[in-house]
């Protein structure tokens, strides 16, 4: 039995015994008891004897997950997701903070609209931060009232869905943001190079007769914005990075001191462009069928051109996915962010090229990461850091499992597997090509701000 709570609930008190507690902020990883009293982490020895005791044997505890990039679709597309349903999906996925992108209808480009979303976000199953639009109407011309928005606690500004196409406007934004300590969160895609494209250029696109956007469409913007951030001493954050070239440019820029950070989605780490042709293996698995023989292998009529695989930026080649995964493993990618992009059925049950780009990700992110861990591609501690402490630090939130901290954590069973079915998802949408697959990692409890926001079993013992 699973249930949701909210940040408006009474503070939690419990003792979790015998779980593996991983705290990247302290570089700690040990099996120990963990105690929460009135929402605060305390020494287990000091807990009242009547506190509920939960058996954590075999479970892992990590800091509450933090997602820098979600689409909550409110206002404007509430059939696909609302703040409420998105927050529940987040809690189910182990997240305690999510950052809502502003490309709603109307966009979150003025203080009143941001205030409305923050109001709807109160006392949900997850903290919801807002990323405001970088330019009015997301039209890429006049910048929003960032000073006032900063006072409202926004996590950054972005015209996500589009790049800030004008280099002049991007430069102005970086300069204006610099003293506020907020990032320009950039969707790096040169529209002149990607126009008309529906997937990544490469052998699969050639085989399928689908127009592909070249990796240079990302790299050209990454290089441009690095130059602008360097000149303005601004902070640019590249979201949903999808190319090795972009990552290498970021590594080089950091070496010379430019303030540049980035995140990558779980699907760009685990899935490849061969998924568009019907392959359903992860990037680290040995390619077979159409993934091994992109031109010769027959297409599987049931899976080829699945609109659930249409995302933007598009799924990358296997080599690029593995390079990005290596970037998470070596720490050069700051965060894993889902780009959770819910869409109603009618926007996905159409021709591949007509389908809305995007897939949901809040409830599968941890499981995809654990799949990479199981495959030996990533250390569990690195995964949890990329999903929690490091993104949280970018938006000014602490994540610690030390005594005295506010309890903000996820408890999950890394060995248990679950089947990704629409009925298992708290999101109002189910657009993911992972439907029907069995993945490792079942969240047993999420605690946000000292409140239990999600719980699956894990009943009190004794």
């Amino acid at each position: 039995m699973s249930s949701f709570g909210s940040l408006g609930d009474p503070a939690a008190t419990f003792v979790l015994t015998g779980a593996r507690v991983i705290d990247p902020s302290a570089d700690a990883d040990a099996v120990r008891d963990l105690a929460v009293v009135d929402g605060l982490l305390v020494d287990p020895a000091t807990v009242p004897s009547d506190a509920p005791r939960l058996d954590g044997t075999g479970l892992v505890v990590g800091p509450g997950l933090c997602d820098l990039h979600v689409h909550l679709r409110e206002p404007g597309m509430e059939r696909a997701e609302t703040v409420e349903s998105g927050a529940r999906a987040a809690a189910h996925g182990g997240f305690t903070t999510i950052c809502a992108m502003p490309n709603t209808d109307p966009p979150l480009d003025e203080p009143a609209r941001v205030a409305m979303v923050l109001d709807r976000a109160r006392n949900r199953a997850c903290r919801v931060r807002v990323i405001a639009a970088a330019t009015r109407g997301r039209e890429g011309e006049r910048i929003t009232e960032i000073g006032e928005l900063a006072g409202m606690g926004i996590a950054g500004v972005s015209d996500d869905g589009s790049v800030v196409a004008s280099a002049r406007v991007a430069r102005g934004l970086l300069a204006y943001l610099s003293p506020l300590g907020l990032p320009l969160i950039e969707h790096a895609e040169d529209p002149a190079l990607s126009a008309g494209s529906v997937m990544r250029a490469g052998e699969t696109a050639t085989r399928l007769g689908l127009a592909g956007w070249p990796a240079s469409a990302e790299l050209s913007i990454v290089e441009r914005d690095i130059a602008l951030a360097d000149e303005t001493r601004g902070w640019v954050h590249f979201t949903h990075l999808s190319t090795e070239g972009g990552l290498n440019a970021i590594r080089r820029a950091r070496e010379r001191g430019v303030r540049v950070t980035c995140d990558v989605t779980p699907h760009h780490l685990a899935l490849t462009d061969a998924w568009v042709a019907g392959w359903r293996g992860f990037a680290w698995e040995e390619p077979q069928g159409v993934a091994a023989d992109p031109f010769g292998a027959p297409l599987d009529a049931a899976l080829a051109y699945d609109p659930a695989c249409r995302v933007n930026p598009p799924l990358s080649s296997r080599a690029e996915a593995l390079a990005l995964l290596a970037g998470v493993a070596d720490g050069s990618i700051d965060a894993i962010a889902t780009d959770h992009a819910p869409h109603p059925r009618e926007r996905k049950g159409v021709e591949f090229g007509a389908a809305a780009p995007g897939m949901i990700g809040l409830e599968t992110a941890l499981s995809l990461g654990l799949s990479a861990v199981d495959a030996g591609r990533l250390e569990l501690g690195r995964l949890l850091a990329a999903l929690s402490t490091r993104p949280a630090a970018l938006i000014g939130e602490a994540r610690s499992l030390a005594v005295g901290s506010l309890a903000d954590l996820v408890v999950f069973d890394p060995a248990a597997r679950w089947r990704v079915d629409a009925s298992a998802l708290a999101s109002a949408s189910s657009n993911t090509p992972l439907l029907g697959m069995e993945l490792p990692g079942v969240v047993r409890m999420t605690v946000a701000g000292g409140r239990i926001t999600y719980r699956d079993g894990l009943d009190a013992i004794g």
């Binding site: 007769g209 297409l299 051109y305 021709e351």
Partner: protein
């Protein structure tokens, strides 16, 4: 059993519904059941199945020449769903379906609404409920027939989807080439033009390489790049390399609007560098035939003289088109 009216021998063949169909010549009938419900692309066909299509089309061509009427598709309703303008493919399918005794309906699909991404699935579902059993689908978006095949319980024949595939065209091209060359094994076939946007070229790459030919591609770089690693395919830097010792040459229709996309500076320059004429073909095998899926832009991708010459198989392609579509419909209806 003798079908007195038509003078044909008929035989019982197992079909899904246990229907008796007349089959003019048991020798030409497939030995075992056709395993495919749809024809989405030729990539799904083994070499034996490709040969079977070609052999059956030869049979159909002869029956048609003798003006025999077949009733293999009696009781079937074939819907023509052309969500993109087309004349010759549509007419060819219509003639083929009628020649096999099917009822043919033209589905009222508004081309403009389909291109806006409105629901193809809804349209096809409605038609399925009205009794259509086979849909011949032409669509401007790559992969649309795959969506149709998994969404609607009817047979789908891909009559061209976006830049992806045009399987019946490739099959009729393979038949035309086999007629002219005897066999495709070890043959060098050159394809010239906008390969990247061509569904005809892609399906031909599958069919021709599966039948043993090596395929050389030539055209403006933006239109031929990306195919280098396709097994059995060579991308030529120079047109002359592709044409040298070629056993046959296929040129593709140039979409006149494509020059705006940066593929070529002008049609004039395209013709000057890649247009086919008798002089350019001098490096190919003596008498090497020329194919074109039509309609041709004479004077652009091929000279009018060459298109009308004895080396041109363009007329044979049209004749084979109907026969091949009869063969495909007959195989799928098993």
């Amino acid at each position: 059993m003798l079908d007195v009216a038509n003078g044909h021998t008929t035989r019982h063949r197992p079909t899904a519904g246990g229907v008796v169909v007349s089959w003019p010549d048991p020798a030409a009938a497939p030995a075992s059941g056709w395993p495919h419900r749809h024809l989405l692309d030729v990539d799904q066909l083994t070499r034996d199945q490709l040969e079977e299509c070609l052999d059956l089309a030869v049979e159909m061509r002869e029956r048609r020449l003798r003006r025999e009427t077949l009733d293999l598709l009696r009781g079937e309703v074939v819907g023509l769903a052309f969500c993109e303008p087309s004349t010759r493919t549509r007419v060819s399918f219509e003639l083929a379906a009628e020649a096999l005794g099917a009822q043919v309906v033209e589905l009222p699909i508004d081309v403009s609404s389909v291109t806006k991404g409105e629901s193809l699935v809804d349209t096809l579902r409605t038609l399925e409920r009205t009794g259509v059993t086979t849909v011949i689908l032409r669509h401007s978006m790559s992969g649309a027939p795959y969506l149709a095949a998994r969404s609607v319980p009817v047979r789908i024949v891909n009559a061209g989807d976006g830049s992806h595939a045009h399987p019946t065209q490739a099959l009729l091209d393979a038949l035309t080439l086999r007629d002219a060359l005897g066999s495709l094994d070890g043959r060098k076939i050159a394809i010239v033009g906008d390969i990247g946007h061509s569904r005809v070229a892609r399906s031909n790459l599958h069919a021709l390489t599966a039948l043993g030919a090596s395929v050389w591609l030539a055209g403006p770089p933006a239109w031929v790049r990306g195919f280098e690693t396709w097994p059995g395919v060579t991308v030529a830097d120079q047109l002359e390399d592709a044409l040298a010792d070629a056993d046959a040459v296929m040129t593709l229709r140039i979409q006149l609007e494509r020059e705006a996309g940066g593929g070529v500076p002008s049609l004039r320059e395209y013709t000057a560098r890649w247009g086919l004429d008798a002089d350019r073909l001098a490096v190919a095998q003596t008498g090497a035939p020329v194919l074109h899926p039509g309609p041709t832009n004479e004077g652009v991708e091929i000279t009018a003289d060459l298109a009308a010459s004895e080396r041109s198989l363009i007329g044979a392609q049209v004749v084979n088109g109907v026969a091949m579509r009869m063969a495909v419909l007959a195989l799928l209806a098993q």
